[in-house]
């Protein structure tokens, strides 16, 4: 099979996503009062409504409607004031009523979009980028210095309920075919679910992955779901078709399932694009079918051929009156909108002088945001809540003293580095850790980055101190004191060391003077060795350069 790059030279991939998100942060189900809880004893959170018992009726969960309106506002959707629930009729034992309550042609949220910043390696998948200059706009993208921004349309976000969970016993690969019996757990039945459908605006697997990642960040910031792809609270299906470069007519699409991690989403789409290209180039035909991505075999396999469109006999749910949202309701929800990742990243760049790269990565995770912002609060005394209130125009921010401003300027960048490197590595290695409860308090974090920023310790020593704070639950200053780690920044003392080192390596000195200036690092290393790692490397650099110059 050809590589993705080869395929995309000749073919344009047209990708659309359907993303289901369970509103796991709600207390109760979509149409009844049953508790939402992942991993509870099977069939313990059920009632006549979510079991579809005869006579039971649905009552919509207002908090879920709030959540979907939040999702719509955060993704630039129009909020439809007059929308309806519909019944989607199909028979399967995981759906107790044998119809799913969902929405019809008009969903709560319509016509939204997200702008994706695609840069670095990710941008490499986009065809024809090299011929564009920064600022050039083609189709739905605009070229930037290090990549491009893609405008991705969102068709709609609608509200629906999840089905129960089935486990098939005795069949192949847990499938119903050949199973001797099947078990159903209705705890999940009736879980509020929002389905976001994108326009077919995505062109590369990287764009799809970044879209999903960005949406996940937004939903996490909105706190409407735990967005766990592993546990299935956020699930993604991809629709893919190919057309020859320059063609306008869409090809036959396949639907890809089981894209349950960012890697699967990327790799599954990549495989499917290459597979379709091979079929088409060999004169074959793509069938409209549902395919399953098998990450262990690294291929997609046919699940179901769709000869005709499914007939779900959709009709308005007569048990639920049309749902009218008032302006007041929508405005109240808008008030609840938190600062979104893009806004946050922009603020980090503006207020703390961070690079776009650092800012964008800091806002990727809740723990990085939390750690970074509590450190900032430690410096400035201003809480994120105060920042939020100021942005809403409710209260002015306290003015920072000149001294604090200087300190913020000095410490923000090393704080961001600490967060993105040491703290991220620590959390990735210990996923269950709660930073707020760890020995690494904001005060200690600032103490640590200040030691580093003031050149009291080297970055290598900082890593040691970071680990020691966690292991020994002590202040960084105390650790530095105990271990005698203070950098030697006394010029006199260092000069003596430099002289000694230069005297010991006359040949190298000769070579350096002969133009081999790369040897500077060697001399610094020798000096560091002589000071047992405590010499200030910056100072040593300067001293050596001066002496040899």
């Amino acid at each position: 099979m050809k590589t993705l790059e080869e395929v995309l030279n000749d073919w344009e991939a047209v990708i659309g996503l359907e993303i289901h998100t369970e509103l796991t942060t709600l207390k109760t189900k979509m149409f009844c009062g049953c508790k939402l809880e992942f991993g509870a004893e099977p069939n313990t959170h059920v009632c006549p409504v979510c079991l579809g018992l005869p006579g039971a009726l649905p009552v919509p969960n207002k908090a879920a409607i709030q959540s979907i309106v939040l999702a719509g506002l955060a993704t630039n959707c129009d909020i439809e004031k007059h929308s309806m629930f519909y019944r989607k009729n199909y028979m399967y034992p995981d759906m107790a009523k044998n119809f799913q309550t969902t929405q019809g042609p008009v969903a709560f949220c319509m016509r939204g979009h997200l702008d994706l910043a695609v840069d670095g390696k990710a941008a490499g998948e986009r065809h024809g980028l090299d011929s564009l200059e920064p600022g050039d706009a083609v189709e739905n993208i605009e070229r930037t210095d290090d990549g491009y921004v893609a405008h991705v349309g969102i068709t709609r976000i609608h509200m629906e309920e999840d089905a129960g969970k089935m486990i098939h016993i005795g069949g192949d690969e847990g499938r119903i075919a050949g199973a001797t019996h099947s078990l159903v757990d209705y705890n999940r039945a009736g879980t509020p679910l929002i389905e976001l459908v994108t326009e077919p605006d995505l062109r590369t697997p990287e764009e799809a992955r970044l879209f999903m990642q960005k949406l996940r960040q937004i939903f996490l910031a909105l706190n409407i779901s735990d967005c766990s792809m592993e546990e299935g609270s956020m699930r993604c299906d991809g629709n893919i078709s190919l057309r020859r470069r320059g063609a306008t007519k869409l090809g036959v699409k396949t639907e890809l399932k089981n894209l349950n991690s960012f890697k699967s989403l990327h790799d599954g789409l990549q495989y499917e694009i290459c597979r379709q290209a091979q079929v088409l180039e060999e004169g074959g035909q793509i069938y409209q079918e549902t395919r399953h991505w098998d990450p262990s075999q690294k291929r997609t396999i046919v699940m179901r051929v769709k000869e005709t469109a499914d007939d779900y006999r959709l009709f308005p749910e007569p048990d639920l009156a049309p749902y009218d949202l008032t302006d007041e309701f929508i405005e109240n929800v808008r008030e609840k909108l938190p600062e979104l990742p893009d806004q946050k990243a922009a603020r980090y760049q503006r207020d703390f002088g961070l690079s776009a790269y650092d800012a964008n990565h800091l806002v990727e995770h809740r723990f990085t945001v939390g750690f970074f912002e509590s450190g900032i609060t430690e410096i400035t005394g201003i809480t994120p809540e105060q920042v939020r209130a100021a942005e809403k125009g409710e209260a002015a921010l306290p003015k920072l003293s000149k001294e604090t401003r200087k300190r913020l300027e000095k410490l923000a960048k090393p704080l961001a580095n600490l967060t993105l490197n040491d703290v991220s590595a620590y959390v990735n290695a210990n996923p269950d850790v709660d930073l707020a409860q760890s020995p690494l308090t904001p005060k200690r974090a600032i103490e640590l980055v200040e030691l580093l920023a003031d050149d009291v310790i080297s970055s290598k020593q900082a890593k040691e101190v970071f680990q020691a704070v966690l292991d020994e639950d002590k202040d960084p200053n105390a650790i530095v004191e105990e271990r005698g780690m203070k950098q030697v920044s006394d010029t006199g003392a260092l000069e003596a060391v430099v002289d000694e080192v230069l005297a010991a390596h006359p040949d190298k000195v000769e070579q350096y003077r002969g133009g081999k200036t790369g040897l500077l690092g060697f001399f610094v290393g020798q000096c560091m060795k002589a000071t047992r790692g405590q010499g200030n490397p910056k100072l040593l650099n300067q001293l050596i350069a001066k002496k040899l110059g």
Binding site: P48, L51, P54, G55, V59, L314, L320
Partner: protein
Amino acid sequence: MAAAASGAFAARSIPEIRALLTGKQVSAREIAEDAFARIDELDGSVHAFLEVTRDLGLKQADAIDAAIAAGHADELGPLAGVPIGFKDNMNLTGTHTTCASKMLENYVSPYTATCVERALAAGGIPVGKLNMDEFAFGSSTESSAFGPTKNPWDENHVPGGSSGGSAAAVIAGMATVSLGSDTGGSIRQPGSFCGAVAVKPTYGVVSRYGVVAFGSSLDQVGPFARSVEDAALTLNAICGHDARDCTSQPVTTDFTANLNEGVSGMRIGIVPQFMNAEGLSSEVKAKIEAAASKLEGLGANLVEVELPNAQAAMSAYYVLGPCEAFSNLARFDSVRYGYCAPGHKDLGGQYEESRAVGFGPEARRRIMLGSYLLSSGVYDKYYYPAQQVRTLITEDYQRAYEHCDVILAPVAPRTAFKLGEISDPTSMYLTDMFTISINIAGNGGMNVPLGLGADTHLPVGAQLIAPAFKDESMFRAAAALESVFGKAPVAPAFAPTAAAGKEA
């Protein structure tokens, strides 16, 4: 037994029972035992009951007696000590709720419907679950999987349907009042056939929670009684908003409030196209005309009103009803409860045979019809126009009520037909020709008994149709008609004296 039969409390009115109870002339236990004795004695021939709830009834009676003994007689609910029966599509914890279908023959309710819960909270003594057409599909109670109910006036005739058991139980004096449900006439038509006051309130007056759905946008629960006052008292007890049914409305009307007001100055609408309808029998027409002139005699003004689109109601109904029924009945799939055909190794086969055997012919017909009407390509041709017709009919009624306060019309084109007489589904559907447009529009309608027809000597009823959420205006006119035509009697063969004779 003789003492119990002589009491025949279930054949008395709610105020009479209340007076006896609060005057300590009789205990709730005696009332309940008497009611169960009458059911044992009389239901064999009528077959109004699918289940008799003796234990629940006696328990409730004892609780009432305990409250009276504790000196709380003045806190008794409005239905205290009143024997009440429930159509078998209403859930009551611990009872079978079969919808008269083999599909649910062994289904025991794990919860209680709001209307039942409210009737019991008001002190009603539950006497049993009442026969009906299977899943309420029918107009004669003949489609019950457990055998038809007989009309207490003449056991060769049907009681009407689908709430035939609810009408027959009250008219045989086996229950003082009962609850039924009406999707296209299923309360009013059996009320007419059996001679009971039978009320389908405006959609939303009574919660549907716990009532097995047929057509969710059409179904409404209402009472059967032998007097307008008893019907009003029962509706008072069960109406109002229910947090578990978001189509229920915050109705707090006292439906007894204007029963003695009379009809002086009231504008009674007559619909010429109903009065001149093909198929309307002369004895029914004569009774309705008599009712009109009596109301006029009592000071009401008769006005002619037009419902130009009402003739399309039947067509709209047989699109919307089956569509909703198809979807509502999809849950009966043999997997979690209900009839399950044994021996199937694959899901599809189990679904198909269980549903083929579990559902009767009319249920299968409506499921097939709904499934077809909702399918892609067909939906636009039928479902959408039917909804448009619905809007037109609703507007017709709104315009008519600019000129009148309540409409007087026939309920059924004829009196009760014989068992087995109508076998063609379309002819059966036509028995609802005067009732269906009210379900389509959503407003309230009720049957008021006018005595027996001149030709068949079977009960004839008038339909009073109120504007939406002005159900009290039809109660007002109904009380006036009752003052002329008399309260609905227990059918002669079941009148307490006759019953005592039967027993002897």
